[in-house]
Symmetry: C2
Subunit: 493 residues, 2 copies
């Protein structure tokens, strides 16, 4: 067992070296350094693959066949070791190295293409990325649909069919709610587009991160084109945000969102930190943490009450004529828009369902990459009722596909569902949650999350964790109940 733990630490160490290089590539690396960086990452990918697939691991696992784990942690340690060994072993090292080199270049090509609003320069990369995805699925093996093989990498055990059975009724409900809201009187949000100088936004972002409990001795905040959270070591969990002088909420909710991811990683029990258990258990659960902070707590009326004085101190000209209810309504305005990461709580999951539908079609072969911009417009029209003219506001908006992350988007919508279900239990356990948020006091909800979710790392799979915390399986009704209550109050629907 100790030998297995040591091997996991070695792999985590190498992965964290890659994470440093990737973080640097996104934040500070000079443009012309990309080729060499791709070589560095490709070499590391090969090393990681070697460490993941050394025959000693197979031998260790074989020895553990008859071993009775002492507790949940030991059981999980061996389970994850088996899973990661199985996944890594199906890929030839050459393939992993080539793919990594290509994806680093692809990411760079995407960033330029998005800036230039030019799909064609990125198209050959994207075609190759979907080829890789199909080959990944073949290597991994699957039942029913190649998508299941990819999905399992991010949300272990989840199936495309199960997602469809969640997303079809959810999409229908959400599209209906958007229409109902559209017929009502709209809320005021002009003040959110007033000038907020970036340096003050940065200071405010740091203050908010500290408010929710993010530890700057074990992390930091930087600016990137696409906000993200990354673990460079067990005590080095960094978040990024983006700034727009005339879009106050862009930075605000990015820091709370990424802060939520960061708190999850920071809250994992130190004893687990150096093993495979030392990370969030699935991307869906991870996203439940970010979206719980961003939306369920961060966009609550109570937290608005708590934050408005801070906003007024920082930007007196912007929030001077704004009261708590106006702020609350403004930041919860529902309006179909092009950019997923800036979408409101109602339309957000529709953006995810759009990508899920396109990914399925691309993998099945019914859709080709060259036709993607048009297909995007059609899906957008159908789900959101609007059509982006620019590819930078459509198919090029997200970084994921450029990194080869296919099968990843659905976890965002799962996060909304898990989050709403967790919130319901949290509210039962912390009856005065609103009173605390009104004081910008976040210790109690953070402690609750640490105890019930964060500290366990990957010990419990997502479904089991959900049952342990809430007493039942994932149920999308809690998310719908939450939206109904919130938006009937705001819009009178």
């Amino acid at each position: 067992m100790n030998e297995l733990i040591r091997k996991q630490k070695d792999i985590r160490l190498l992965q964290s070296i890659s994470a440093v290089l990737e973080w640097d590539q996104e934040t500070y690396m000079p443009g012309k350094a990309i080729d060499w960086r791709s070589e560095q990452l490709a070499w590391l990918a090969g090393q990681i693959h070697q460490k993941e697939t050394v025959p000693e691991i197979a031998a260790l696992l074989k020895k553990l066949d008859d071993y009775s784990p002492a507790d949940d942690r030991e059981e999980a340690l061996v389970r994850l070791a088996r899973r990661e060994y199985r996944i890594a072993s199906v890929f030839p090292e050459e393939y992993v190295v080539e793919k990594t080199r290509h994806l680093s270049q692809s990411q760079n090509a995407w960033a330029k293409a998005r800036q230039a609003d030019d799909f064609n320069s990125f198209r050959p990369f994207l075609e190759k990325n979907f080829d890789y995805a199909r080959r990944d699925a073949e290597y991994l093996g699957y039942e029913d649909h190649p998508y299941n093989a990819l999905l399992d990498l991010y949300e272990p055990g989840m199936k495309a069919a199960e997602l469809k059975s969640l997303f079809d009724p959810l999409g229908e409900y959400l599209a209906g709610l958007v229409r109902r809201i559209g017929e009502k009187e709209q809320v005021r949000s002009d003040f959110l587009n007033r000038s907020c100088p970036v340096d003050k936004q940065e200071a405010l972002g740091k203050e908010i991160l500290q408010t929710i409990g993010y530890d700057f001795e074990r992390g930091r905040l930087d600016a990137t084109a696409h906000p993200f959270t990354t673990e460079l070591g067990p005590r080095d969990i960094r978040v990024t945000t983006r700034y727009d002088e005339f879009e106050f909420t862009s930075n605000l909710f990015s820091v709370i969102h990424e802060g939520g991811h960061g708190l999850y990683e920071m809250g994992v029990d130190e004893d687990l930190a150096e093993t495979f258990l030392g990370q969030g258990t699935s991307l869906g659960i991870h996203e439940s943490q970010s979206r719980l902070w961003e939306n369920l707590l961060g966009r609550s009326r109570a937290f608005c009450d708590g934050c408005l004085p801070l906003f007024r101190d920082t930007f007196p000209d912007v929030f001077g004529d704004v009261d708590e209810e106006t702020l609350y309504r403004g930041i919860n305005r529902v309006k179909p828009s092009f950019i997923r990461v800036e979408a409101d709580e109602v339309t957000y999951s529709l953006h995810v369902i759009l990508r899920f539908n396109l990914e399925l079609a691309l993998l099945e072969g019914g859709l080709e990459v060259k036709d993607l911009p048009e297909a995007w417009k059609e899906e957008s029209k159908k789900l959101l009722g609007i059509v982006p003219e620019k590819v930078s506001q459509g198919v090029l908006q997200d970084v994921h596909w450029s990194f080869g992350l296919i099968g990843y988007f659905p976890t965002y919508a799962l996060g909304n569902l898990y989050g709403a279900q967790f919130l319901r239990t949290m509210k039962r356990d912390i009856p005065d949650l609103d009173g605390l948020l009104r004081q910008r006091e976040c210790a109690a909800p953070l402690d609750w999350l640490r105890k019930n979710i964060h500290s366990h790392g990957s010990v419990y799979p997502a479904g089991e964790l959900c049952r342990r915390v809430t007493g039942e399986d994932l149920n999308y009704r809690y998310f719908i109940d939450y939206l109904e209550e919130k938006y009937s109050r705001i819009y009178g629907v």
Copy 2:
């Protein structure tokens, strides 16, 4: 030959991964991440050591015993391959890994100790670092003095005895010049301590870097406790600086100095970039480049004339009552002070000689680390005529010993000597150098340096390069002539 080139690229790739991690550690890493970072660097050091010492290299080199190199480059490629293989092979891998882990911790301990002005917390690390230095020398082997083994790592072929024969008369001359200047009327420099907001200093630093030809598409500028230059890849050469609102020259000459190092690395012929030849040939030559830009050009009257309008634009309140001659005299003020990196051109080499004397005594065993703060004071009194009260202004001021860089300091003084000798030839080849600098036109001197020095990378050893560029061996008289001419004009000595 191609196989040897491929092996060198592999090693350079791994070294550059370490460089990314080290750069991050100095610039942005959160404090509590240090333990994991040390593990990452230690693992990489082991990997690099393995790559440097694989038996295939010995076999390749053996095959090349009878090979006649086609040109200087091939000759150098094999020569450096032999040298690096010999150096790497003497150390057991375990030793390299342990030392790297320790040094990363030591660097961290130094930074804290310096901040707290507390020698004792750093003492055990420093003792271990000098132990490592002695063990390094034993592993490497040496004639005459263990110091020669260390010195050779940074300035190949240089000997302690040769340094003494340079430094003894140089030290005597410099101490005499300091005394002569001290007796004359002092120059005005009050304006250099006026308030210059850091954000404007940063913009000015970037402008100056661009002026001298630094390419921001292949590099960047950040702030660190101790300015440095590092290569994270052939097209990723980063520099750092430090800011003090009331010390205008601290940032200004840091950026020019580090920019000089950066230009050297950026100017290496692309064909050499991925081999051992793709770096500066010795630290003495490297320092000649940084100090040539910082002092010989950067502190010249002509460049003052060129820069004053820029300074006035950036800080009208600071430079409104300052004319060119006042600026020139102010930035060339000679006054013994505690901090090496802020020393003027006359006292600077005395700081280096101080460290060289102490390093020799520590290696010989005549001095113990516990007595170092006192010994520092004595040497400082003897050479500079002043005694620092705080260890942060004395023995703790430099980062080098915390990184185990012992035998490194002399290369700084060598850089002054090489630089003055190069300048004399450059002036012969560019008769209107002053006229160009007066326009802030730096293309001609940069082209001259690229052609004569930078492009060759490590093809020629320092001594040979000096002969090729200037037609003669290193001669410290050029530095003395330079100082005499400059300071007789400023101080009338």
